[in-house]
Symmetry: D3
Subunit: 241 residues, 6 copies
């Protein structure tokens, strides 16, 4: 078992100020609790949203990240609802990966029927995890190449889940995890006026949890086959009903 | 980390004398080496095969199991190449599950374009893992209900792998594992006269290994989403190229 | 708009006493409320379950059906957890279809990774809806052939939902529907001792509802492409997030 | 039943002058006949095609739209065979959606193995239907946000149909619909010199129709799960053979 | 190029008297014209159909086979609409394969949403092609083992086509092929009273043909990857629109 | 049988200097041996790679092409690891297609989880094969339109293979083919320092070969359904185990 000091950092990318919290906040709460360093990179200020000014949303995000125990930075790409698939963006994201040197990376799923920024960012991060390990890229020369361990995708709603791809399920039933996650989601007060985002996520986590035989759980979709030394970590499955 | 005494047993089902060895033998070698109890249930004597008598094949299987450090039993269902999907078979398999009380179960994949016994046995074992935990089954009353942790499917050839379902990949590069596995496969001397089964499996394991950045590896397909307490065991991915 | 007297009957098949209620009970509550005749055919007494005697479960089912406004009958096939795919079963189910002459039929999904009775019954009902319209079957001669309008599959848990097949979503937010449904589920008191079936179904219905912009909703998977006279009934979509 | 005055408009996007007519013209004929307002947005003049000048093709399109009872406008994006996936395009399309305020939107499928303009326009329209409902987009401030009811994709040929995604099937057998549709397709005289587009579409509609038990039918693929108040509109299925 | 005398036989299985003709009759017409020996095995007399007596249907089938230039035999399994998946059936079919020793085998697709006999026969034939090459099967000892070259599935209607699996397309535009095929279909006069089977098949063949740039074509789905010595036979593709 | 002089040229596109060799080099070796003209278009100098200078890599590629008997040109698009999906690129590739006038085109698969240049080039080539046959494109006026016969995709590693899409398998067991291919791969000496690319490809080809009953084989994924005049070329299938 690695000590918490040995846990490689987790790097989470979000297209909008609340994406990481809604899509993977419970998992993040558990990882920081276990002592893992977690860093958020948020790629817009949510300026296209119906509610909340960029200033408000920046503040909400900083508060949410603090509640979850994560550090945070904002990375300007094309702006909210304007993201395009450009090589320069993938290189910028790869530069962050080389700087943070994570073991695990989180990004939104690449399902094309969701907010256009989500799936494009998911694909850009996927590209970036590859670029980060190629040695000859002039734009990235400032830092040594870095190979991550695994990229996981998170889904912001049921329609963003990759159909037919079984996820891994992370048990959130340790004391306090769901409470911390809920508090972090509630920090995005401007977004909760018109839609029940918090209730949606908690209901999703309850369905996943009941199916896995625990209180609450969140799912992640691995980008590549998971590699293990043995079957020892693999003795739990979700399908209680 | 559980000690080896605490590792829940592994129960592997095969339709024919050599199926477990060819499809998951490297993984079995690693598990017994780590101290896990492994038990094989072989559901025919291979009597429909082109080569080898039932007596020879029984002896080869016992030898192979011994090399891998597994115990073994034969369970008569309908006979080689005659397996049908009967409730009585699922109940018989569930009875074995209640007796052995495994944490992990292995069975052939349910892809319908392979030897007809393979996919039917895979489906029967899948059914059996459910029946084993239902309390009211008269045929199973002799033993208390048992819920396994996870069912994994193994693939005997490239055409038996479930398309589009990402597997977990088990690293076989610890010293001696591939050698033990190869020896166990070679114990099935009668089957190696006309087809290069051993070379096929080693080439498949080499491709999986190179893709995972290790020497050799074997893949398994989980029946249900995998559940974890945290991301700690999930920091390796296969996609080196 | 048909008057309620003109609504063709709904015929729902369940493998166990509580399947229809858990998988489609909210939809049934809405249909009987609208005046449609609904008939349940339950194909076992749940005698393999961990909790409840067949007698208790029969009584619970009758009570649940009554709460939902449906009539009910029991059809003995092979018994709980023993169902096999036999032509005689499909013919028996087709006989019921010819007798009830429904416009819509409900059955459990055919996803093979669930209770073995569920998917087998789903396939048998699918076969039966075809046999019911073939004119030359000696076993069915007593009644004229009948072609149903549409067969829908219901899913008892998240793992039983057909991946990648978009469902139709039925809005349950009319007053009283969810309350009636909940009461019908609660009638299965013997089954609620060890697992949170009711909470699972309500959480699933809440996720579906939030995604569709309503309070609660349940999904069904059509067996065949849906046919419409025009786009008029097709102006609502689920994807609020 | 809504009166025709209450039917929300239908907005159909095409990449080339004849796309809507060939892919969904029969459905459009039925909707305008029922009194629904239909508006076409054509995103090029077909200037890359083998036959027909832009002037000819513009005239043919206007004539075809008139035959179908639809209004029409041309929207210049990147030009025929030059369409790229740009945020500015999605915003332009979203602007049209806010202006027309449709209940239903039609666009070509996003299957990537077809004319490059088709699938890119399909994805752009999908993005646009989301952008149209986000309140904070500066480029769209001139008009209030608008949430459509449902986006449907149409397929211009068998290879453009999304495999494995069941469509909805619209019955075209009311008197005069196929005749009107055929006349509208024939208006694209320049395109009919070298390929049997009209016969292809009629043969496809005949196969769909026979399968649905009617004379002719056209299919659409819903972008999101369809939501209904009850099962009443859902009593017809296609699978006659 | 093999001479016609060297062409290995084609063995086609049908569940009902008209299945082969409707699903693959155009292809059969081309093969017999080229000098290949074709043999039909029909596994029922169609006695469950709405129209036609077994005697009539037997006569119609013999006439149709004659028109197509094929020999024919009837094999009694469980009777029309009663077919079950039994090992004995697969062995019986394997016995026919050993007798006829075909290079190519045809069977209905295994899609489970069609006539229950169709997909079960498809799976039984798939199993049988494997059993035919296993040397140790007592029931088959009378004849030497035989390995076929390729198994293809044919689809009787659009809903029986395997979604997402690209077929091979056989050009039927040589003079006389479609005429012969149409005549063979028309021989099933009893089946043409209530449904437009012939028109359905011709419309499907016209769509396939137009897409492939020829007059008419029929599709087949290979069971296993196709193997070639070079790219020389692979220079035609279907996607004209 | 066409004589070698009649074989239409093969045009292969690669994103990097070694892609064609690793992904389809064995097939190319067979085609040039049979007398077919093969031309490589390489769309970067590999300047982002960890090893090798552009100059070295250009030289290695020229040597490899020579060993395989192919001609070669370099086409500058956006540079290694910078490729974007631009209409201008598709037009440039279409221009090459019009110049070379191939019967068969090869490109990397479009699976989005691989090197970002690979799948984008695959999609660009797919678009280009369509643009090449449209008569009205101003940029392409210099040369007459050209319709290729078939586009095939090659996969550079197991993770780049399109899941669920059966490939065609090309037998490489003719004498000298694998040796020539291996020599061509070895010409990319700069790339073999850190990864076992050659062994990966040979192990993949061995698995494919054993499954097809031959020594070695490589797979290609057709973009469109394959069209044949008869079943004569279709008598071999891969599934030996």
């Amino acid at each position: 078992m690695p000590t918490s000091a040995q846990l490689p950092p987790l790097l989470a990318f979000g297209a909008h100020p609340d994406d990481i919290e809604f899509g993977a906040g419970g998992i993040v709460a558990g990882e920081t609790r276990a002592g893992r360093r977690v860093h958020f990179v948020v790629c817009s200020r949510g300026e296209a949203g119906t509610n909340g000014t960029p200033k408000q949303r920046t503040a909400e995000t900083r508060r949410a990240a603090k509640i979850l125990g994560a550090t945070i930075e904002f990375l300007e790409l094309d702006g909210d609802a304007h993201l395009e698939t450009k090589a320069a963006h993938a290189l910028a994201l790869a530069g962050v990966i080389r700087r943070v040197r994570p073991g695990i990376v989180l990004a939104p799923t690449t399902e094309p029927n969701q907010h256009p920024d989500h799936w494009r960012l998911g694909q850009l991060v996927r590209d970036a995890t590859r670029l980060a390990r190629y040695g000859g890229l002039a734009e990235l020369k400032a830092r040594p190449a870095h190979a991550i361990g695994q990229l996981f995708f998170y889904a912001l709603g049921p329609g963003s889940e990759p159909p037919g791809h079984p996820p891994v399920v992370i048990d959130l039933s340790a004391p306090g995890i769901v409470a911390t996650w809920t508090k972090a989601m509630a920090a995005h007060a401007s977004q909760l006026k018109t839609r029940n985002y918090v209730e949606l996520q908690l209901a999703r986590a309850r369905v996943r949890g009941l199916d896995a035989g625990v209180d609450h759980a969140q799912a992640l979709w691995p980008n590549d086959p998971l590699v293990f030394d043995s079957l020892t970590p693999l003795t739990r499955g979700a399908r209680r009903f």
